[in-house]
């Protein structure tokens, strides 16, 4: 295991979308217990600097693999697929229309201060997202279809942002 290893190799986990999250947590903590700056608070400058670099690296790897969307993006990146930022021009029209309807519903509920409706939208979207992740997971199983997976990831990026906006609206009403 080296500093420049990819995130999966760092944790000695297979390059897979369906990841053993328990093993990931365990290994993250095991490595962090070795490299964290708190273990080097009384060490020399060189060791302290290395520890900072390693702990940062391990945190980044863990954050990338822990959640399914960054994990999928990272797997596609390793496979040479460019996911890019979410970009309307690349998306099919029916998907974009669906997105517009969602956004209108959120904006309406937000303007009306309808907490209940926003919670409802949140749950509906969460459910939709988890189904899409199931579909995405299948695309990463053999035989892998990276082109299809890239398309699904792009859609999920839109939905992720939408979920964030709903949460933001709920927070705004709370305050």
């Amino acid at each position: 295991m080296n500093f420049s290893d990819d995130h999966f190799a760092l944790f000695e986990l297979p390059h897979a979308f369906r990841l053993d999250l328990g093993a990931l947590d365990l290994r993250y903590r095991e490595i962090q217990a070795k490299v964290h700056p708190d273990k080097f608070a009384h060490a020399g400058d060189a060791e302290r600097r290395l520890s900072l670099q390693w702990a940062t690296r391990v945190n980044e790897a863990y954050q990338t693999l822990k959640k399914p969307l960054p994990r999928a993006k990272y797997l596609l990146h390793l496979a040479g697929q460019d996911v890019g930022a979410e970009n309307n021009t690349a998306m099919p029209m029916d998907f974009l229309i669906e997105q517009m309807e969602w956004r209108e519903a959120v904006a309406e509920a937000r303007a009306a201060g309808n907490h209940h409706e926003l919670e409802h939208l949140h749950h509906r979207l969460k459910h939709d997202i988890s189904e899409r992740f199931e579909e995405l997971a299948a695309l990463f199983d053999a035989p892998q279809d990276h082109v299809q997976a890239t398309d699904r990831v792009r859609r999920l990026m839109f939905l992720d942002k939408l979920l964030f906006e709903i949460d933001d609206a709920i927070a705004a009403i709370d305050e």
Partner: protein, 634 residues
Amino acid sequence: MALLQIAEPGESAAPHQHKLAVGIDLGTTNSLVATVRSSLSVVLTDELGRPLLPSVVRYTAGGAPEVGFAAQEQQSVDPRNTIVSVKRFMGRGIEDIAHRESLPYEFETSPGMVRLHTAAGVKSPVEVSADILRTLRLRAEAALGGQLVGAVITVPAYFDDAQRQATKDAAKLAGLSVLRLLNEPTAAAVAYGLDNAAEGVYAVYDLGGGTFDISILNLSKGVFEVLSTGGDSALGGDDFDQRIFCWIIEAAKLKPLSIEDSRLLLTRAREAKEYLTFHGVAPVTARLNSGEVVDLKLTTEIFTEISQTLVAKTIQPVKKALRDAGLSVSEVKGVVMVGGATRMPQVQRAVGEFFKQDPLNNLDPDKVVALGAAMQANLLAGNRAAGDDWLLLDVIPLSLGLEMMGGLVEKVIPRNSTIPAARAQEFTTFRDGQTALAVHIVQGEREIVTDCRSLARFELRGIPPMVAGAARIRVTFQVDADGLLAVSAREESTGVEASVTVKPSYGLSDDEIAGMLKDSMAHTRDDAQRRALKEAQVEAQRLIEAVQSALKTDGELLSPVQLTKVETAIANLQATAIGENRRHITLAMDDLEAETKEFAAQRMNKSIHNAFAGKRIEELEEVAGSAKGKEGCA
């Protein structure tokens, strides 16, 4: 089986040699210092046995500052020169100070961090805090009988970069070596978690004198993982005093007050608040300088009513922190109450109602932060054996971002990211031949720059002239384990390192700190020269021990030639450290650091390998084989 041995780079060479380290809770109202003695965390008291040091400093012309009770007694006599709640000014500009019109201080109007005019000259909040910290350092050194290796200083979790940096600067000014800035709720979680062997999700509700924090943590098998944090760095017990103060003025129909009378009534307000913790009615009586007499009764009902919005203001960040952690109230196993202000019954009730459970009050809310900080200081100083330690994973409280075109903010590191964290961002030039680029760093959650907190501005210079858009300038933001930001930059296509001079918006420059350091030495009884030499000697000893310990466990990683070089550097440092020349000691330390740089990298790699080898300790035979195999892959 040598492969199974887990090397501990952090382990000290001589575990029996206890290093003197303390935890300091630098509070808005009171400060404390604690240490671990015979494996128990204890608060160190003053010569009269008092654990708390009021965070009050009084400046007199020509004399040494008075700190603590003596200063507190003078606050209504000499309010202008008696600084209370200085923590609220740390890393803050004048425009940030709430109720500044009712404060008795004379503020300087310069931009940047606020400064106060006192009888002893203009003081920065950093210097005032340093006077408090110095008092605690001297207390600790007297009690422990030696020089401290270092201190863990606690800060509110919701403190931003400027406030953290100001705290670290204050410690430096007070002659303390900072082992770590530790978030107050995390310190409390350590104390609570270790004392109660707690496992699961806990919330720490920390309402102090001037700051409010909420942290959600997962406690599991020696790992304290902060899932999210939130708060308000300008909300605390002081604000409840202020509400009572305003109520007194209204109820007693008082004319505009002198600053002395204001101070007196604020003190009475605080006393009434404390009295109401155990009684239903608090008498409020005062004879003012103006001749007016105040004689009122404050009931719990009235107090609850006038402070209702303050209590509600603490629940919002709680909701947000839970949402950020992706948890619901029912998933929280316990709520640990921290900070003197949580003694107020209406706060207890509101927290209990929100979390649908009785809050945990089994630790002294005034001391728990200092006790936890002391435990962490003991750990960081290397006084605990490997396997008998724990791991803290903390987060940054507020997103770090950059100003983009049109005054919008681009988030670089989102809030609640586990630290240390880093993110690189690429910039380009927008004009042909452009050689400099201005970068503005902000902290906060809003999308508009002016709604966020300005941390620093810096300019990247020395970009090679190219056509617009051709330069690729990679700026790296690194947040360390203290939650402090550092910035570096380089132009990717040419490899030119751009120079970065960060000008903190509300901080002090290195020169200003150096100047203050000189001033403070002139006014303290410390012999500055001797102290600096002593510090260097302690540092040298620490480094020698660390390297010797490393050689003992991992010496085989070095070639005979390298080993000789390291040993020579150690011998040289040992010889120099006996001497009296501080500069020579520093140079010898630099030499030893240089000789061990590569060794440190090798040891780190080995240690990470062992993280996995150690885990499979039960699978004896296979482990030896697979670990060997892995050696080849690395």
